[in-house]
Symmetry: C2
Subunit: 455 residues, 2 copies
């Protein structure tokens, strides 16, 4: 069952570590799931974590290692010798996890660890996985899978499956390949277990031919979309010749989904690196400063624009009162428009979206929004007995700014997407800053005209 330590329990564990009461520590962790042990160790300092880690037997320790917070995992790995990593960690975990662990090591240590791997097949598998580019299906997949040949009988297949299944923690599906190892179908476990086939039947007669697969160079987004669309728990991966080379399971895809959502959310919030609350202040500042400085640069530009219209402000200083309102609304509208495009692009629900129809639709939304907001601010300023010139200026500028901000918000992510840049960038302070600038430019231009006409 799920376990979380309370503060006093954690303090007690720390005291046990400090005093070297190994049996008490082992009793506390006994029967816990590796994920729970990992969550407990995440709360310890490095030297305490290493101490507890070394008390675990190596198979459990390897699984716990995979559950640790990334930073702690790296530190802990650095405290292990190459031989310990190769023999105690990598031998006990799946190839995909092993490749992830190795990828975190320095180049020299990487080579040492790989050379120390005893099992040549395991070594080759891991080396292969390290060759695929990050963000591709090849880099995400594991080599562990169970496959049978079309020309085997059920009886032979069962013997072979038993042998292969010992190497594979979770068997969700049996893959069917031809004599050249090309993927030709699947054999669902359920069929095998519950259909009363003769043991002499050939596999090709009971295999399901329809099988969804991806290739090693497929983008992970494609993997996520395919798994979600077809509700499959595990996707086979083939190379460019259709040869079965690995499989991707739902848990890896869930991690990718969650990372992508988190990244989009952070971009929308103006955070440029993957940070969380547990990261050090320096790391957090580094992730947060870039957008703030871009915002500052935008603020300087805005100040220059306003300076150009200083004459206007001298004619009516009250115009300054509504600058934040105009800038804020422009920013809000732009971000809303971008967010809708970014989500449409991510979910694929927009398909191959054409620029013109998308903008026409957004324009209708913006027109309606602009009418409501423009009328509202007109009524308010009328009620507040502002001058006619100011009342018209604010309403007309607000109306115009909502339209242009919506257009910017729609076009920018679509353009970024075509330039193969992550469109989510557009929902961050980038669009807000741009809209601040154009919003104020519009405001003063309208003001200049209105005060010319109405005063």
């Amino acid at each position: 069952m799920s376990v979380e330590l309370t503060r006093p329990q954690l303090d007690a564990l720390r005291a046990d570590v400090a005093q070297g009461r190994d049996s008490a520590i082992q009793a506390l962790l006994a029967d816990l799931h590796p994920a729970d042990i990992g969550a407990i160790i995440d709360n310890l300092h490095l030297e305490e974590a290493v101490y507890v880690y070394r008390l675990l037997d190596s198979e459990l320790a390897a699984e716990v290692l995979l559950e640790l917070h990334e930073d702690l995992r790296e530190d802990l790995l650095n405290s292990l010798t190459s031989r310990e990593i190769a023999e105690d960690v990598l031998e006990h975990i799946d190839t995909d996890d092993a490749a992830d662990v190795i990828a975190d090591l320095s180049e020299d240590k990487k080579r040492e660890v790989i050379a120390l791997l005893d099992d040549p097949e395991h070594r080759e598998d891991i080396e292969e996985l390290l060759t695929y580019a990050e963000g591709t299906a090849g880099a995400l997949m594991a080599k562990e899978l169970v496959s049978v040949r079309t020309d085997w009988t059920v009886a032979r297949a069962i013997v072979e499956m038993r042998r292969q299944a010992q190497e594979v923690d979770h068997v969700y599906t049996i893959y069917v390949v031809d004599k050249d190892e090309r993927l030709c179908g699947i054999l669902p476990l359920k069929e095998l277990l519950f259909s009363a086939e003769s043991t002499r039947t050939l596999i090709k007669h009971i295999a399901e031919e329809e099988v969804f697969s991806v290739t090693t160079d497929s983008d992970v987004e494609e993997v996520v979309n395919r798994m979600r669309k077809y509700d499959v728990v595990v996707l086979p991966v083939v190379d460019k010749n259709g040869i079965l080379v690995g499989r991707i399971t739902f848990d890896d895809v869930m991690d990718v989904m969650s990372d992508e959502a988190s990244e989009d959310y952070q971009l929308a919030s103006g955070i440029s690196e993957d940070v969380d609350a547990t990261d050090s202040p320096i790391v957090q500042v580094r992730a947060r400063l870039p957008w703030l400085l871009i915002g500052l640069a935008g603020g300087i530009i805005t100040s220059r624009i306003i300076a150009q219209y200083e004459g206007q402000l001298r004619i009516d200083p009250t115009m300054a009162f509504f600058m934040p309102l105009i800038a804020a609304t422009a920013g809000n509208v732009g971000v809303q428009s971008s967010a809708i495009v970014v989500q449409g692009l991510a979910s694929g629900s927009m398909g191959n979206v054409k620029l013109a129809p998308r903008m026409w639709k957004e324009l209708r939304v913006a027109l309606l929004t602009a009418l409501v907001c423009g009328a509202a601010i007109f009524a308010i300023n009328f009620a507040l007995e502002q001058t006619q010139a100011l009342t018209y200026t604010v309403s007309i500028a607000l109306f115009t700014v909502i339209l242009t901000a919506a257009m910017f918000g729609t076009v920018i992510p679509l353009l970024l997407d075509r330039l193969k840049v992550d469109p989510a960038l557009a929902t961050g302070p980038f669009v807000t800053t741009l809209n601040d600038i154009f919003g104020l430019l519009t405001y003063f231009t309208v003001g200049h005209l209105m005060y010319g006409i109405l005063t």
Copy 2:
């Protein structure tokens, strides 16, 4: 394989529908996965969609229905009679999907459809699922599962499993229950298939006792976290007495994850309802206006604050130049701080976070950020040869505003969370608006002081 129609293909399909060329339509859709057929129908107008839908045989049609865009699905369901829904749709789909379909119907139609369900067990199951509150494990689970009793032999279990498995599309795990239907363990398919147990062995001797479960009233967030933490493909659901009542599969959890991420992202972008690019302009405006109006109200308040300091602006109109810079930076910092807290709360990585240590950490981040930004703007204004009073005012105000915005951004989501309100609300225009107001208040207060000292 995945299929997407090109524009000309879609036009051809439309022409086929208009001309009633049924066999051409059926040929196009033959052998496609329901998800692909759904994606194609999503591109059609309602009457075309209904036409194509009626050409499908009812088992396939029911599966396609589940894949349609929500709005189209509702419209299509409204065009079907209660008998058609009960007999052609609900009989062919799992109980969890059936409950979702029924939940979308009007109260009267709901009763009619339920009364028309032939199979009393199916009806009872669906009625039970409809009783659980939205957002709980009970509302997410399906009743279809395969279970065996501890006191059965393997031989008897296999006979029972074959019978039950006919009702269940995907069997991932066999659940083991005692004579009172209480969950006591699982029987992984792999063990059953690959271990050479005697058929007379009792199930209790081969069952795995460790099993992760949730209760019907568990929050879906808890379900997601548990499935992700323990990498299980299917979670059993028990009632308060520990009796096994359903199961939740990974695909449902992926949908929840994706919905939650999308909701957080939309809240952060100032969109208050779940809308997407395909929704009508009216629906989009309704989702977008509330935050814009809150932003407008904030703008009005800001204008009143500035009006209070009109005297200050008359002393130095150039102070107005830097209002957008101050407001924008305050907004950006506040949103960054909130986003980090919101993500920490969502992922559970912050645990039972204490307010004081969290604020102390954020304060250190903010201090560093404020020093860099304050120094930068000081240098720039110095270089631009602004007056001493203005240069000091902008730098000191920016420094202060970054600190207060970071504190607001940290406290507000934590408070919302304690009040059981979704903390993600805090990353939207709410924090931005609040920070705009306080930012400008700070700016003018500092200005009043500085101009008093330095001029």
